[in-house]
């Protein structure tokens, strides 16, 4: 079973088999990063442009390392601010970059749909590295890879996502992926952070953290996205930590072998306590390692590589 597509814009349109094919390929690439010489020639002669219209450190670095380990030529283009404030439109930027004949565009943009917009207007393969509050497919794939490594599979797993779901592209991509793979997803957060029509997402929703954590196999804490809030959605960090923060006490409601995940960057002491984050149940650094492998797999597959 392979994964053949021009672009990776979202998890929502993928089949479960596509996701599994990407994860299997990523497992094969893990080894590259553990060698002395961390490079394979798979993408020699291919040009990858990383277009970042929104500040990002870890995602950009992760993509760049992944591309370099595949021997691709990588170019970074960073620009903050929307097209309207910048003067040049997204369309013009895309046309200009298109004229330089890149093979793959990795794009992060503050507007939902921006990656799709670009993909519709270029012959290059487009990888969405996060578009507004829409999706962040490679983050979900690395999360799924981490869960599969720790749990062996997805069927019947209870996965609880806690935090600012409505503003989170990470949550949206994870929800689509987990649903497709057979996990049961529970969302938890104050009502102000939960999506209004969650029925469409096929998930359970609660504002009671205890209920959400009961029997959970996987708990994912999300970053409080203060930068995406136009009006306040919770009274204070202190109150958030009290009712929705993960800590060593409340986590005991979960299954004993629960794993704790966080897409980073973390607000320590707000969505998750330092004890928990640095403790044995946390798989946060494993997520980061898997991130490079997953991005290598996606870049490789979209460049025409064969799934493993």
């Amino acid at each position: 079973m392979g994964f053949v597509a021009k672009d990776l814009i979202a998890i929502e349109p993928l089949e479960a088999a596509d996701i599994i094919a990407i994860l299997d390929t990523a497992e094969g690439f893990l080894d590259v990063s553990r060698r002395d010489v961390k490079k394979v020639p798979a993408l020699r002669g291919k040009t990858v442009v990383n277009l970042f219209f929104e500040p990002s450190t870890r995602t950009r670095v992760s993509f760049e390392i992944a591309e370099k380990r595949l021997s691709a030529d990588t170019i970074n283009f960073s620009s903050t601010g929307s097209s309207t404030s910048k003067g040049e439109t997204l369309l013009d930027t895309v046309k200009n970059i298109e004229a330089m004949a890149p093979d793959i565009l990795v794009i992060r943009h503050p507007a939902a749909g921006a990656a799709q917009f670009v993909a519709d207007r270029t012959s290059a393969a487009v990888i969405n590295a996060g578009d507004g509050r829409h999706e962040h497919p490679t983050q979900a794939l690395l999360d799924l890879m981490t869960i599969r490594q720790k749990k062996g599979g997805f069927d019947g797993l209870k996965v609880t996502i806690v935090g600012d779901i409505a503003n989170s592209r990470v949550a949206r991509s994870n929800i689509f992926g987990l649903n497709k793979l057979g996990a049961k997803v529970t969302l938890c957060g104050p009502g102000t952070m939960l999506p209004n029509k969650h029925e469409a997402l096929g998930v359970e929703v609660t504002s009671r953290l205890e209920a959400a954590l009961e029997g959970a196999d996987v708990v994912m804490a999300l970053r409080i996205q203060k930068e995406r809030q136009s009006t306040p959605t919770f009274p204070s960090d202190r109150e958030y930590a009290k009712y929705f923060g993960l800590n060593s006490q409340v986590i005991d409601l979960c299954e004993p072998d629960v794993i704790i995940m966080h897409p980073g960057p973390v607000n320590r002491g707000v969505e998750i306590s330092s004890n928990l984050l640095d403790g044995s149940r946390s798989v946060v650094l494993g997520q980061v390692e898997n991130g490079v492998a997953v991005r290598m797999a996606v870049v490789y597959l979209l460049a025409g590589g064969v799934a493993q």
Binding site: S82, L90, F117
Partner: protein, 439 residues
């Protein structure tokens, strides 16, 4: 010399006519409507057998962008689009640049319409100066200069007190207040309908309630002030229900919807194509059904396009960054007829919502073809099928969300003030005043 339009199937809901009639016109006025009008040698006879004849269509919500944004549309181009769509009268919204908040701008619009207009152009003035929602515009002078209503369309009046004052003041000048109903704080800069689709897409969303709470407020303010209120571009179940409630109270409240709200839903936004972006946004299928039902039962008085032309690059960009609005004049009638052909809505209700309904809502002439009424008429071939091709539109803009749709029912002739301004696919004059009387 008389013009006799002979043998067409006349649908004129204001007179309760739905059958074959002859219409006799003298100059710019209808003189007789009868089952058979004897012609004499001096008469000009237009053989309209096999066609449907409606009173000239009226669109009470269009943006012609002049003055200020002539690159999007002008009164000349917009009114040509109107004529091609079968419209003989339009009401132009005041959010031009400068805003139509003073008599000088109103006179400029009327002058442009006189020089280049292909249909009657009724200016709508602003409620507040520069649409800022702070101080009342010179509403009396606007009325004197020719405005037929006032609105802050596009920039809803957030202050309830200012809306009250606007209604009280406009009432004294016999002007309808048109409300763009939107609670801006609740809409919070959203760009699509809040619902299942927005939950999937993560686009900032506007709940139906952002419209409905303002519909409720303005209905109550109309009760308080006794002003004539017209609710623009209603798009939700709740808005239609509130309008029904207001009419039940006996209040002087009317409402319109637009073809996109009874034709499309927010599912279209899944493409992230900004041609589907407008305000209010495309709603759910339930809302669309409620809007159709509101047209069928007459709760909604008018179908108005909210014709909002934009340049290509204002739409070909990130969905969130794109301008709001779609064009509609050249597709409105056929989309309304689709309600009849495909969804069983009574043809009389549809024609009423395009003629006498909007005329009554704003108190403007036309909308019926009785004796001494305006000789404004739209002849339609109800069987002709055609594919929407925006590249061929008379509008300057191409932001049409119906491109490629096959529709049934096409305007074959538009007659304004007794003169043919559009015939068989072509505009036939430089302006309405110089158009010819054609058989």
């Amino acid at each position: 010399m008389r013009l006799i339009v002979k043998g067409a199937h006349l649908v004129d809901p204001a007179q309760g006519i739905d059958g074959v009639r002859d219409v006799a016109v003298n100059g710019s006025t209808v003189i007789e409507v009868a089952e058979n009008i004897e012609t004499s040698s001096g008469d000009m006879v237009l053989d309209a057998r096999g066609l449907h004849l409606f009173p000239g269509l009226i669109d009470i919500h269009v943006h012609f962008r002049e003055p200020g944004q002539e690159y999007k549309e002008t009164i000349a181009s917009g009114s040509r689009a109107a004529a091609a769509g079968g419209f003989t009268a339009v009401a132009v919204m005041p959010n031009t640049n400068p805003v139509n908040d003073n008599a000088e701008i109103t006179r400029f619009i009327l002058e442009q319409a006189h020089v280049a207009g292909m249909c009657r152009v009724y200016p709508v003035g602003a409620i507040s100066k520069e649409l800022k929602g702070e101080d009342l515009a010179s509403i009396g002078e606007l009325a004197d200069a020719g405005c037929i209503a006032v609105t802050d369309d596009g920039m809803p009046v957030s202050s309830s007190m200012l809306m009250r004052r606007g209604m009280e003041y406009a009432k004294g000048f016999n002007l309808t207040v048109i409300s763009h109903c939107e609670d801006m704080s609740l809409a919070a800069g959203g760009c699509m309908n809040e619902g299942e689709v927005s939950a999937l897409l993560g686009l900032p969303a506007i709940p139906a309630e952002a419209e409905e709470v303002m519909v409720a407020r303005d209905i109550m303010l109309s009760r308080l002030t006794g002003a004539r209120l017209h609710l623009a571009h209603l798009s939700t179940i709740g808005s239609v229900e509130l309008l029904r409630l207001a009419k039940g109270y006996g209040l002087n409240v009317t409402g319109e919807t637009a073809p996109h709200y009874f034709t499309l839903t927010d599912e279209k936004v899944r493409t992230f194509d900004a041609v589907y972006k407008m305000n209010p946004p495309l709603r759910s299928a339930h809302d669309m059904e409620a809007v159709r039902a509101g047209i069928q039962d007459g709760s909604l008085d008018a179908i108005a396009t909210d014709h909002a032309p934009h340049a290509g690059d204002e739409k070909e960009c990130e969905f969130e960054a794109a301008m709001n609005g779609v064009i509609g004049l050249e597709t409105s009638l056929a989309l309304a007829l689709k309600l009849h052909f495909d969804h069983g809505v009574d043809l009389n209700r549809i024609v009423a919502a395009l003629t006498c309904g909007p005329a009554a809502a704003l108190g403007i002439p036309g909308g019926t073809l009785g004796p001494r009424k305006l000789a404004d008429m739209t002849l339609v071939d109800m069987n002709e099928k055609w594919v929407v091709t925006p590249e061929t539109f008379y509008s300057k803009a191409r932001n049409c969300p119906f491109a490629g749709m096959e529709l049934r029912g096409r305007v074959v002739r538009t007659i304004t003030a007794g003169r043919t301004v559009y015939k068989d696919g072509s505009i036939t004059a430089v302006n309405m005043g110089t158009a010819e009387i054609l058989p």
